[in-house]
């Protein structure tokens, strides 16, 4: 059967099964034909096999046949044979080494199209061994005057160098006059070869820097020359060659003042004269921008480049917008001010329909937020957060927090982070709580927003945890309707307790969340008047099968019974948490650590007593602590910063540690003080806290 006949037949199959049957039948016929060593039909059979292979059927039994075709003298055989080799063989198979001799012969064939086949195959799939064996032949052809072969030899050399980098040197002599060629094919492939060599070897790079003037000249001719029908693409002469030259110039000009200067003018010329109505012009502009940004260009040129990217952002073509955003992302650190000018356009891209464009616009937007623009930017970013796809939400929320933390005022911070709160991840809960605590004037607003969020949805655990913590902490503000920023909600104490108790029993709540809500309920005992109800809840959970809840409830119970006089103080409002400075590991001089029983299981209160047994007073005594990210520390003021000599007195300091994740408590301390006129620094680590301080 002829090839086309087979294709036609297979396409008539109505089911996969039918197709498989036809294929199996044909393969069987082909196999017997191969076994009979039939020269006449081998070519046709391999071609048919290649078609079936493309449909997904196995064709490995045709591999050797490809080699036989390559070895044949007929051009048709060679054509299909080499095609088959490229499709069915890959360098991992030993059988493909058998090609080496054939390729060698064909590289020296009298017909250039045969030589071409050999060069193409070698350059596409030659293994390292083959490349080693045949590099010499390729090098010879690189020096031929036949441009058809020369251009192929150049790309073949590129492949050889990629497979066997040590062979690069041998191609150096042949590169001498490559750029003097008039033929564009040879020029293009030569530039590719030179690029490859320069990228791989600093010595080559230094050696080829002298080509910059020649490259500039070639580029100039391409731009200035009139219409050349052979190489014209929408009014631009050989854009492929232009782009390649620009890329080579980029590599040569990087970190080199002289080269960069030599190409300055031509870059400016390309940047201003290239027609931008079609993709091809923009492709050249894009490459030009990349080059300008990478070399040591003068500032005027850099601004020109960024402005081109700014114009790209306004282009109707989304592909152009995409590359603009990608490039701006790369330059936003180094040319921040220039990129800032295009901020509003970038923010508009947040509304784009394409996912890749949106993501880049988001990253770029966060990179551009600063103290001056945070209000406007946050508005846009929060809107984006609300409406964007789920895959973005976590990253966007994190970005919002970071930005709010870095640039926002307290008030703004709260306004920003509460909507973003719905998208927090687990590890952001402590950070969010800290931010909320510190935004003092916004407590009423924050607790109202979060309470409303609880009414809406109790499935997002991180949000629920933050919201219940807030409700416990600021519940009094909630029921007294003190919110100023928006219409105060009308809610009773019982309603609030209903919601918190609802969390305790909900299937959606994790044990951690339950812990939060129980503690929140407990805190409200000093803020609400319905103490009896709270007592009842705490009593019930004293026999909870969840050990964590049970322990808490038992302790809270004790607080109601035996320690009722301590309850108000222990459950009072959390003070502002400071971010403590982190210092290195410490060696404690003399410190005792103590923990008090504390009804808020997330907070450990540690009192430090520092005493001094030496003969002289320690003055300017400062205690600092560093903790892992999961903790938050608050250092209250020390009783004094002089530790009297000879144990005549102690300095006391209280530390409060918020540890919502119940990680084993440890921190490293740094003590600094002055002893006998000299400054002393001591570092130490403390991690022998009793378990009940953090569990």
């Amino acid at each position: 059967m002829l090839l086309r006949e087979l294709i036609r037949t297979i396409r008539t199959a109505r089911t996969q099964a039918e197709e498989r049957e036809m294929i199996q039948k044909e393969c069987a016929a082909i196999r017997s034909s191969f076994r009979e060593e039939d020269n006449t039909y081998r070519c046709r059979n391999v071609a048919k096999l290649l078609y079936m292979h493309m449909l997904g059927y196995p064709a490995h039994f045709g591999q050797l046949e490809c080699l036989k075709l390559i070895a044949s003298q007929k051009f048709t055989d060679k054509r299909i044979g080499y095609l088959g080799a490229m499709l069915l063989l890959d360098e991992r198979q030993d059988v493909h080494l058998l090609m080496t001799n054939c390729i060698k012969n064909d590289l020296n064939h009298s017909t250039q199209y045969v030589q071409g086949l050999a060069l193409c195959t070698l350059g596409c799939m030659g293994s390292s061994e083959m490349c080693r064996d045949l590099a010499g032949e390729v090098e010879k052809l690189l020096k031929t005057s036949n441009s058809y072969l020369r251009k192929k030899a150049a790309l073949c050399a590129v492949h050889v160098i990629r497979k066997v980098p040590e062979l690069m040197e041998m191609f150096l002599p042949a590169t001498k006059n490559l750029l003097s060629e008039k033929n564009h094919g040879v020029l293009h492939t030569s530039v590719v070869l030179l690029t490859e060599m320069c990228e791989r070897s600093p010595d080559m790079l230094a050696h080829f820097r002298k080509l910059v003037p020649q490259l500039v000249r070639i580029l100039k001719n391409l731009i200035m020359s009139g219409y050349s029908p052979e190489h014209d693409v929408s009014g631009i002469s050989d854009p492929f060659l232009q782009v390649r030259i620009l890329r080579l110039l980029r590599i040569l000009g990087k970190s080199d003042d002289d080269s960069s200067e030599a190409m300055n003018d031509i870059l400016a010329q390309v940047a201003t004269n290239t027609e931008t109505s079609k993709n091809v012009g923009n492709a050249i502009l894009y490459e030009t921008v990349l080059t300008i940004m990478d070399i040591k260009s003068e500032s005027g040129l850099r601004v020109l480049a960024i402005n081109i990217l700014g114009r790209f952002l306004l282009n109707n073509d989304k592909n152009i917008r995409y590359v603009a955003l990608t490039s701006l992302l790369k330059t936003v650190q180094t040319d921040h001010n220039a990129v800032q000018r295009h901020r509003s356009t970038i923010v508009d891209c947040l509304k784009d329909l394409d996912v890749s464009i949106k993501r880049r616009a988001m990253e770029l937007s966060f990179a551009l937020v600063n103290g001056n623009n945070i209000r406007g930017m946050m508005k846009e970013l929060l809107y984006f957060l609300d409406s964007c796809d789920p895959e973005f939400k976590a990253d966007c929320a994190s970005g919002v927090f970071l930005a709010a933390e870095k640039y926002g005022t307290d008030r703004q911070t709260s306004l920003h982070i509460t909507p973003a709160g719905s998208y927090v991840r687990d590890d952001s809960v402590p950070n969010l709580i800290q931010l909320i605590t510190n935004s003092v004037e916004m407590h009423a607003y924050t607790v109202q927003r979060l309470y409303k969020a609880l009414l809406d949805d109790i499935s997002q655990q991180p949000l629920v945890q933050v919201a219940s913590w807030c409700t416990g902490e600021y519940g009094d503000l909630l029921v007294s309707g003190q919110c100023e920023e928006e219409e105060p909600i009308q809610v009773t104490e019982d309603e609030v307790l209903d919601v918190l108790e609802g969390l305790l029993v909900s299937n959606l709540s994790t044990p951690v969340t339950r812990g939060y809500s129980l503690t929140a309920i407990m805190k409200l005992s000093t803020r609400f008047s319905s103490v009896n109800r709270i007592k009842k809840v705490v009593l019930i959970y004293g026999s909870s099968i969840d050990v964590e809840l049970q322990q808490r409830a038992v302790e809270y119970n004790a607080l109601f019974k035996k320690y009722d006089h301590m309850r108000p103080a222990l459950l009072e409002r959390m003070p502002i948490m400071e971010k403590t400075a982190a210092n290195g590991p410490t060696e404690i001089v003399q410190t005792n650590g103590e923990t008090e029983a504390n009804p808020n299981p997330n907070i450990a209160i540690i009192t430090i007593h520092a005493s001094n047994a030496t003969e002289a007073d320690m003055t300017d005594f400062v205690f600092q602590a560093a903790v892992p990210k999961t903790f938050q520390l608050q250092l209250l003021s020390p009783s004094s910063n002089v530790v009297p000599a000879l144990n005549q007195g102690t300095v006391t300091q209280v530390i409060r540690v918020l540890n919502p994740q119940k990680v084993s408590l440890s921190f490293t301390n740094c003590l600094t003080y002055t002893l006998k006129g000299s400054p002393v620094q001591d570092l130490a680590e403390v991690n022998n806290f009793p378990p009940q301080s953090w569990q």
Binding site: K74, G123, H188, D354
Partner: protein
């Protein structure tokens, strides 16, 4: 994958059937099949309004649809996506000139020709010839050579002597 302008090129229909696959990196048949399958599905899932570029694994994918065929190239991270679109377009123009208003059926029934044309345009993942005319001339000459090689036999077949 080692550095290469184009790592591989795939042509496939809207039903996901492969019409051409050119690989410039060494991969086993099994790996090629997996990559093709995954990538084809990813691209077919994209909406028409989306841009022609996407990040996939550690590569950039540039694709464009021409009539019923998707042309898809995998390029390196530092490559110029816009010029890759031009490369794809040039290949389509070459096919169009060769077949005379090319359609998917031409590529199905003459797949080996589509490969020959590609191999005169690209080599090792890079463009070897930037003149449309020169590529087509080379193909023309090679086709002629092929006909000459086959001619004697077909004449004999015609008069029934084989």
């Amino acid at each position: 994958m080692y550095k290469n302008s184009i790592n591989f090129m795939l042509l496939f229909s809207r039903q996901g059937k492969l019409r051409l696959q050119k690989w410039y990196v060494p991969l086993s048949d099994k790996e090629r099949k997996k990559i093709s399958r995954d990538l084809v599905q990813t691209i077919l899932a994209r909406k028409p309004k989306m841009c022609s570029f996407l990040e996939w694994r550690d590569l950039k994918i540039v694709y464009k649809r021409y009539a019923s065929l998707y042309f898809c190239c995998a390029v390196e991270d530092q490559d110029n996506e816009l010029i890759t679109l031009e490369i794809i377009h040039r290949y389509v123009e070459l096919l169009d000139k060769y077949f005379g208003s090319v359609c998917e059926l031409d590529i199905i029934f003459n797949f080996e020709k589509a490969y020959f044309i590609l191999d005169e345009f690209l080599l090792g993942g890079e463009a070897q010839e930037t003149s449309k005319k020169n590529v087509l001339k080379a193909i023309e000459q090679a086709d002629l050579l092929q006909e000459e090689a086959e001619a004697p036999r077909s004449v004999l077949e015609e008069i029934g002597l084989t």
